[in-house]
């Protein structure tokens, strides 16, 4: 038997098989499965990479208990940016209205210096500081709405927060600073996490 004869002999196969092969097959939607498999692989690879190389993974160190707000629209698109330049803990502060905040009076003061470059029409609409420690989590009271000073020819905003130590017993381990900006109906929010570095300075982690 040669190949051409075998090809001819194929006509003797069971008619039922021929009829079945002549039917229009149901097309399997393999694209969906491919997409699902691809997404699964990407998620798996991402998880593995962040597990093996934790320093490559963006976001918080695993022991940070705070949710940190990322950079939201319109921050990226509008050119707005806020950078925290310095965070200090002080034992006394004389506010613009003449109020003296001091440790002796039971205040624990945190001063945040930040540089805000805002698109015209945008402004800082709110800020809050949350501290966390062995006794739990507390929201600090902003002692002054917002102070804008000029340092080295650059405009810097000073954010002063006071913590009533009688409300917060124990050590403070970390802080979450949240700053909101707005323009009309549009709003944006950015979060910063700080850890205690020394008794009077904080290490800023800008996220």
């Amino acid at each position: 038997v040669r190949g051409n004869e075998l090809l001819d002999l194929m006509e003797l196969v069971d008619p039922a098989y021929v009829a079945a092969a002549d039917m229009i097959p149901k097309k399997k939607n393999r694209t969906v499965w491919k997409t699902v498999a691809a997404i699964f692989c990407v998620v798996l690879c991402g998880g593995l990479i962040s597990y093996i190389f934790p320093f490559l993974s963006p976001g918080n160190p695993p022991d940070v208990p705070y949710p940190v707000t990322g950079m939201n629209s319109p921050w990226e698109h509008e050119g707005n940016s806020i950078t925290v330049t310095d965070v200090t803990v002080t034992d006394s502060y004389l506010a613009q209205d003449g109020t003296l905040y001091s440790e002796e009076k039971g205040d624990y003061l945190v001063i945040v210096r930040c540089k805000a470059i805002l698109v015209p029409g945008w402004s800082i609409t709110g800020h809050s500081l949350t501290c966390s420690g062995s006794s739990g989590t507390n929201l600090c009271s902003p002692s002054e709405p917002l102070i804008e000073v000029s340092e080295n020819g650059e405009k810097t905003r000073l954010l002063l927060f006071s913590i009533r130590m009688q409300d917060f017993a124990g050590d403070i381990d970390a802080y979450l600073l949240e700053i909101q900006i707005g323009s009309g109906n549009r709003v944006g929010q950015q979060g910063f996490v700080f850890f205690q570095k020394t008794a009077s300075t904080l290490l800023g982690l800008v996220v």
């Binding site: 090809l7 002999l9 008619p15 098989y17 009829a19 002549d22």
Partner: protein
Amino acid sequence: MDDPTIVDLYLQRDETAIQETAQKYGRRLRSLAYGFVENLQTAEECENDTYMEAWKSIPPHEPRNYLYPFLARIVRHIALDFCRSSSRLKRNAYICELTAEMEQCIPAPDDSMCRLEEAELAGAINGFLSTLGAEKRDIFLRRYWFLDSISAIAFRYGYSESKVKSVLFRSRNQLRVYLQKEGYDL
């Protein structure tokens, strides 16, 4: 008109049987023939020859329950002969390609001393096809019964061409092994 009635017309030598056949299966047969010869005029000739062959074959055959496969087999045979006899048709080279592929299924080179009866070999091929899964069997038949191109099969089943080639390659090897195991030295 249903198939048994059409076959009865053939058996009664009623010429309306051919009209009824053409009406019911003409387009499919022509399409099938076109798939082989890729020439409309030749496909129509194949179709008409099929009716003539069916007229001669019924009786003794009585394909009441498999009229279309019966006609399809005839049209395939006629179209293949057309392809081989007419060097004008481009399909000649394609048939050679398929023939070469089928050669791979043959365990031993051609040897007139150990020729098989056609019926035995057909039985063996059917036995082999029964061992294949439905989809692999369909792909095998699309290639070697309907003579579809690889790309056409890939499109039909939603596979890539390399996947179809791979399935066919394995099926051919399986057929060769099957024939050897069954003791067929071709």
